[in-house]
């Protein structure tokens, strides 16, 4: 920076800017250390929060995945059908079929209609 060929302008520029080259701020190192410690604590909290969230997600996933599959449900249904309790339902359905016999048959054709020759 001590180039003898520099003009007075260059020297003036260098001298002016050099006056601000280093600006010592009293107590700055202490402020930085405090800020870094706070940053360290904050990142620790964030890390633990993330770990807790991940653990919760794993728990939910485990519970969801341990629920019975469709195949298992089908098997359980067939097992229920085979049991006595399910037979009672079948009986009820059978009774319903019997009751159907008692319902009026409104739409069936009358005997006269069947026997009468068409067009007479």
């Amino acid at each position: 920076m001590n180039d003898p060929q520099r003009t007075p302008f260059d020297r003036e520029l260098a001298e002016t800017l050099a006056r601000d080259r280093a600006v010592v701020v009293p107590g700055f190192a202490e402020r930085v250390v405090s800020a870094v410690r706070a940053d360290r604590r904050r990142r620790l909290v964030v890390r633990w929060s993330s770990a807790a969230a991940a653990a919760a997600a794993c728990l939910v996933a485990a519970l969801t995945l341990s629920a019975p599959s469709e195949e298992t449900l089908n098997r359980q249904v067939w097992e229920l059908v085979a049991r006595d309790e399910s037979a009672q339902i079948a009986d009820l359905l059978g009774a319903a079929d019997d009751l159907r016999l008692l319902s009026p048959v409104a739409d069936q054709p009358g005997v006269v209609d069947v026997l009468a020759p068409a067009g007479s």
Binding site: F9, L17, A18, R21, A22, V25, F28, V33
Partner: protein, 190 residues
């Protein structure tokens, strides 16, 4: 505010201190900050034109340095690494503001700032130079601050700015020409 410059940092000491910082040694961090903060704040003040903002950004630089301490590889000087982080923060600051500072109003002389500031011409010239530097385009201002104020070699400036050395030289050449034009009232020879 003192203008006393701490002793020049030694690269080997910086490497040793960075290793300690990576292991969580706050005393090492304190020493590292003590060694480097003055030039960092000086550079940042030249860039943003505000002492308070310069200190905030310098604080952020050291926080980021601390986070990256474990991954830092001593391929470049720590000074270069610090100013590289600082330069990126300056770019973010300008984006956040939506514009860059065009004046250096906050450079108004502070009481006791310079022991010889009673010399009116020196104060006026200082102010004029700072205003002129503040008016330069971003790359030109950064390049001229790094080469003239921080006395960094072109190669280091190229690393900091992420540009070829030829671009750095061009920016510096144009910055000087622009400053001569802006300062012609003060420097008839310029």
């Amino acid at each position: 505010m003192s203008q006393e410059e701490p002793t020049l940092p030694d690269d080997e000491d910086d490497k040793r201190l960075m290793a300690l910082v990576a292991s969580g040694d706050d005393d090492a961090l304190r020493l590292l900050v003590h060694r480097h903060h003055a030039r960092l704040v000086g550079y940042l003040r030249g860039e943003v034109g505000s002492q308070a903002t310069a200190e905030e950004l310098a604080m952020e630089v050291f926080i980021r340095l601390h986070r990256a301490a474990g991954r830092w590889r001593p391929e470049a000087k720590l000074t270069t690494f610090l100013i590289h982080i600082a330069h990126n923060l300056v770019l973010n600051e300008w984006r956040r503001r939506g514009r860059k500072p065009t004046t250096a109003l906050e450079f108004a002389a502070e009481p006791g700032d310079h022991s010889q500031q009673s010399a009116r011409r020196v104060a006026e010239l200082d102010e004029a130079f700072r205003r002129a530097v503040a008016q330069l385009p971003d790359e030109q201002r950064t390049a001229i601050l790094l080469v003239v104020q921080q006395e960094l070699p072109y190669e280091d400036i190229a690393v900091i700015m992420g540009a070829p050395v030829s671009s750095v030289k061009t920016w510096i050449h144009r910055a000087r020409a622009r400053l001569r034009e802006l300062m012609k009232d003060f420097h008839p020879d310029a």
